[in-house]
C-alpha cells in the first residue's frame, strides 16, 4: 500500500538520522523535557549532518534534497517519540517563506545559517487575542524613514526561545482591509525592542521552547520586509499547505509508532487473548493504514506542486484527530501502566493533543473544507 518511493539515497539519509537520534537525541530526551528546551548545540549537530532544511538547494548551503527527506525526518522524530526538537517548524514551515519570497540578499544572508543550525527560525502569527481569526491581529508595523517600527505581542511561538530569526506577521494600522494590511518581516534576535518570554508550561511538547514574543518600538531596516508590502496574508495562505501536510505526515508516523508499541506491550503481557483487545487493534490498524495511504498520496501530489488545499485540510483534520484517538485508545488497552510517564504512549498522548489545535485548528480545517467543497 506504499505510495511513496524512497531512493537508496533517501534510505541512507534515514539510516544516518536514525543513528543520530539513537545516540544524540533519545538518551537526552528526559533531561530536555525537564529543562523545557533543547540546547542550541543540538541544532548545530543536526545542521552539520545535513538534517536541517534538507531540501534547500546547494547554492544556499543545502543538500539539494526533496520533500521526502522532510518526510523521513518526521518519521524518525516520531520513532523517537519526540516533539521537542520540532525541526520541521524550521525546515518545512519557516525557512520556505524565506526561500520563496526572500530577495537574493536575504537568501544569501539567512539560508546558509538555517542549514547549519546557526540560525534557528520561528514564525510569529498567533497573538493573545488573535488565533483562528488571524486577520484580527494587533501587532503593527509602521513605516518611519528607512525603517519599520513594530509593536505588539505574539504567543504560542514554537522555537520562541531558541530562535535567531523570526518571520513576523504585522499589520499596517492605517490599512482598511485587514487582509491587505498584513506584511511579513524578518526580525533578528538581539534587535532592540524585541524580547522573548520564558518557555510556556504545556501539556506536552515539553522541551519544545514555546514562548511569547514582545515587540516594543522595535525598529528594523526596511530591507527586512519579506515579499511585498500588504502581501502577508497571501504568502501565509500559500505556505499553509506544506505546514498542514507535514503535520499529517508526523501524525501518521506517531500513530504507527504508538500502535506498534502497544501491540508489543500487550503481546508481552499475554493480553492478546482478549477479543476486545484484538478488535481494538484491528480497528486502529485499519484506520492508520487508510490514513497513511491518504497522507502519502497528499505528499505525492504536493511534490508535484498540485494545489490541494481541501485535501490537505482534510488530511490535517483527520490525521491529527486520529493520533489523539489512537493515543486515547492505546492507553485504555495498556491500562494501569499507561498512567505512568514511564509508558511512552503517555507522552505521545500529551504531545499529540496539540496537533488538532495548532497550524490551524481542526474547526478551521472543517470551515475550509466546507467553503471550497460544499458551498
Amino acid at each position: 500500500m506504499e505510495i511513496l518511493k524512497f531512493s537508496e539515497e533517501h534510505l541512507a539519509f534515514e539510516k544516518r538520522l536514525e543513528a543520530f537520534m539513537d545516540f544524540d537525541v533519545i538518551p537526552n530526551i528526559q533531561k530536555w523535557e525537564k529543562d523545557k528546551i533543547v540546547p542550541k548545540s543540538v541544532w548545530k549537530q543536526l545542521g552539520e549532518n545535513g538534517f536541517l532544511c534538507p531540501n534547500l538547494p546547494k547554492k544556499y548551503g543545502g543538500t539539494g534534497g526533496d520533500f521526502l527527506h522532510s518526510v523521513l525526518v518526521a518519521k524518525q522524530l516520531a520513532r523517537s517519540n519526540f516533539n521537542g526538537l520540532a525541526t520541521f517548524i524550521h525546515s518545512d514551515i519557516v525557512v520556505p517563506y524565506i526561500e520563496s519570497y526572500g530577495t537574493e540578499k536575504q537568501l544569501n544572508k539567512y539560508l546558509p545559517g538555517c542549514v547549519t543550525g546557526d540560525i534557528i527560525t520561528a514564525v510569529g502569527m498567533t497573538e493573545p487575542d488573535s488565533g483562528s481569526d488571524l486577520a484580527s491581529m494587533n501587532t503593527t508595523a509602521v513605516e518611519d524613514g528607512d525603517s519599520f517600527v513594530i509593536n505588539g505581542t505574539k504567543t504560542f511561538i514554537s522555537n520562541g526561545v531558541n530562535c535567531d530569526l523570526v518571520i513576523l506577521a504585522a499589520k499596517n494600522p492605517e490599512g482598511e482591509n485587514p487582509h491587505k494590511a498584513v506584511s511579513l518581516f524578518l526580525v533578528e534576535d538581539g534587535t532592540k525592542g524585541f524580547k522573548k518570554g520564558k518557555p510556556l508550561e504545556k501539556m506536552g511538547w515539553k522541551s519544545q521552547d514555546t514562548s511569547e514574543l514582545f515587540f516594543s518600538d522595535c525598529r528594523i531596516p526596511k530591507e527586512n520586509l519579506l515579499g511585498s508590502l500588504g502581501n502577508g496574508f497571501k504568502m501565509l495562505m500559500a505556505k499553509l499547505q506544506q505546514e498542514r501536510l507535514i503535520c499529517s505526515v508526523s501524525a501518521m508516523y506517531f500513530c504507527e509508532n504508538m500502535l506498534k508499541w502497544t501491540v508489543d506491550y500487550l503481546k508481552k503481557k499475554g493480553a492478546l487473548e482478549s477479543q476486545v483487545a484484538r478488535f481494538a487493534l484491528s480497528e486502529m490498524g485499519t484506520e492508520i493504514t487508510i490514513g497513511k495511504v491518504f497522507m502519502e498520496k497528499l505528499v505525492e501530489e504536493h511534490m508535484k506542486k498540485e494545489s490541494i488545499i481541501v485535501e490537505t485540510s482534510m488530511g490535517k483534520y483527520f490525521t491529527t484527530d486520529l493520533v489523539k484517538r489512537i493515543s486515547l485508545r492505546c492507553l485504555e488497552l495498556i491500562g494501569d501502566f499507561g498512567s505512568l510517564e514511564e509508558c511512552p504512549v503517555a507522552r505521545t498522548f500529551r504531545d499529540s493533543r496539540i496537533t488538532s489545535i495548532f497550524a490551524g485548528t481542526n474547526e478551521i480545517m472543517k470551515e475550509i473544507i466546507a467553503k471550497f467543497s460544499y458551498s
Partner: protein, 376 residues
C-alpha cells in the same frame, strides 16, 4: 439540572465549594502537579472542617451521598487537590464496615481528623483481584506477611496500609482472602516508587513489597473478606465516579467561561453553533453520569450493594470526564494546552482515572455479567 438534595446535603455542597474556592490556590495546584507533591496543609484544613471521610464519620450508616457531593464539589474547583485530599482515606470504608471500636479509634478516627493517611494495597496483577499471592501466617499472636502489591496510592505518605492477603492459621496456605492493617514503619516493608505519573500527580504511586513483615494478630481486620471487598469496591466506584464528575464539571465551567469571553471573527466562540452543540453534549453526559452516580450512592445508603449501578455510574462518569475535558481543551485552543488554564491537567487526571483499575474494560465485564447472566 439540580438533583433533589436535602437541606443538609445542600449545606455540605456549599461548605465544600466555599472551602475549595477559598483554599485551592491555582499556583499551588500547578506546582504540586509539577512536583508530584501532596497538598498537606489543605488536607488538614479540610479534615478540620469535616470534609474528609464524611460518609464514614457516623455510627453505622454510610452517608455516601454526602461524599459524592463533597468529591464533586472539591474536584470541580481543582481536580488534583480535590482528589488527592480525598484519597487519604483510601480503603477506610473497610475499617468503617468491619472495624470494632479499637480499630475505629486507632485507625479510622485519625484519618477523619487529618492526622493520618491510609492506603489500600490490593492489586497484584493489573487484571483482577483473583490473583492474590500475598500470604501471611498466624502464629503465637503474630502474623508474618510476605508478598508484593502494585500501584499502591500514596504509599510514601501513608501511615498504614490495609493489605489484601491470604492468611492461614497454621503454616498451610489458606485460600481465604483476608484484610490486615499494617503500620508503615513495620520492618520488612519496601516501597518502590513508580515515578512520574500521567495524571493525579499529587498522589504518587508505588509498588510495595513485604518480606516477612511481623504484624500483631490484633491487626487482622477481616477473615474471609470477599463479600466485604465487593461492597467496598462498589463504594469505591461511586467515589471515583464522583471525582470524575467533579473533573468534568470543572473543565466544563472553565471552557464555558473562556468561550464566552473569547471573541474570534467578531463573535464570542460560545456563540458558534458547533460550540453550542458541544456544550449540549458535554452537559448531557455530565448529568447522565450524575444521575447514575446519585442513584448508585442512594442504593448503598439503603444497604443495597448490587454491583451493577456503581459499575455503570463509573463507566459513564469516567467516559464523560475524558470527553468533556477533551472538548474543553479543544474549545480553549492554544490556551487549553497551557498548564496555566487547568484543563490540560483535568484532562490528564480524567484519562488516568479512566484507564487505571477498575478500567472501563473491567467495568464492562461486571456490567455484562449482570445484564446477560449466564450463557449456556
Amino acid at each position: 439540572m439540580e438533583l433533589n438534595l436535602t437541606r443538609s446535603q445542600k449545606e455540605i455542597q456549599k461548605a465544600a465549594t466555599t472551602f475549595a474556592k477559598g483554599e485551592f490556590d491555582k499556583n499551588l495546584a500547578l506546582n504540586l502537579d509539577k512536583e508530584g507533591k501532596f497538598p498537606e496543609e489543605i488536607w488538614k484544613k479540610a479534615a478540620e472542617l469535616g470534609l474528609i471521610g464524611i460518609h464514614i464519620d457516623g455510627d453505622n450508616k454510610l452517608s455516601l451521598v454526602d461524599s459524592v457531593i463533597v468529591a464533586q464539589s472539591l474536584c470541580a474547583v481543582d481536580s488534583g487537590i480535590g482528589s488527592s485530599i480525598l484519597s487519604t482515606t483510601n480503603g477506610a470504608e473497610l475499617l468503617f464496615m468491619d472495624g470494632d471500636e479499637n480499630f475505629r479509634a486507632k485507625y479510622l478516627e485519625p484519618l477523619l481528623t487529618g492526622d493520618k493517611i491510609c492506603s489500600l494495597a490490593y492489586l497484584e496483577s493489573e487484571k483482577n483481584l483473583q490473583s492474590t499471592n500475598t500470604r501471611a501466617y498466624l502464629q503465637d499472636g503474630v502474623v508474618t506477611l510476605s508478598g508484593s502489591k502494585i500501584y499502591v496510592i500514596n504509599a510514601d505518605a501513608a501511615d498504614y496500609f490495609i493489605i489484601l492477603c491470604l492468611i492461614s492459621l497454621k503454616e498451610e496456605p489458606s485460600e481465604n482472602l483476608s484484610l490486615i492493617v499494617v503500620d508503615k514503619n513495620t520492618d520488612g516493608i519496601n516501597i518502590r516508587s513508580l515515578g512520574e505519573k500521567l495524571g493525579f500527580r499529587m498522589n504518587p504511586v508505588a509498588n510495595v513489597d513485604f518480606s516477612e513483615a511481623k504484624i500483631p494478630a490484633a491487626n487482622i481486620l477481616t477473615f474471609n473478606c470477599e463479600s466485604k471487598l465487593k461492597k467496598y469496591l462498589a463504594i469505591d466506584r461511586i467515589l471515583k465516579a464522583s471525582v470524575a464528575i467533579g473533573i468534568a464539571k470543572g473543565a466544563f465551567t472553565r471552557a464555558l467561561e473562556y468561550t464566552k469571553l473569547r471573541k474570534q471573527f467578531g463573535k464570542a466562540i460560545a456563540g458558534f453553533q458547533v460550540t453550542k452543540h458541544k456544550f449540549a453534549d458535554m452537559d448531557t453526559q455530565i448529568q447522565s453520569a450524575n444521575l447514575l452516580t446519585f442513584q448508585a450512592a442512594q442504593n448503598i445508603e439503603n444497604a443495597n450493594f448490587d454491583e451493577l449501578p456503581s459499575a455503570q455510574a463509573l463507566l459513564t462518569a469516567s467516559k464523560a470526564a475524558v470527553y468533556v475535558c477533551d472538548e474543553a481543551v479543544q474549545l480553549m485552543g492554544g490556551y487549553g494546552y497551557m498548564a496555566e488554564y487547568d484543563v490540560e491537567r483535568f484532562y490528564r487526571d480524567a484519562k488516568a482515572l479512566e484507564i487505571t483499575y477498575p478500567s472501563s474494560s473491567a467495568l464492562k465485564d461486571i456490567i455484562a455479567s449482570k445484564v446477560i447472566g449466564k450463557v449456556k
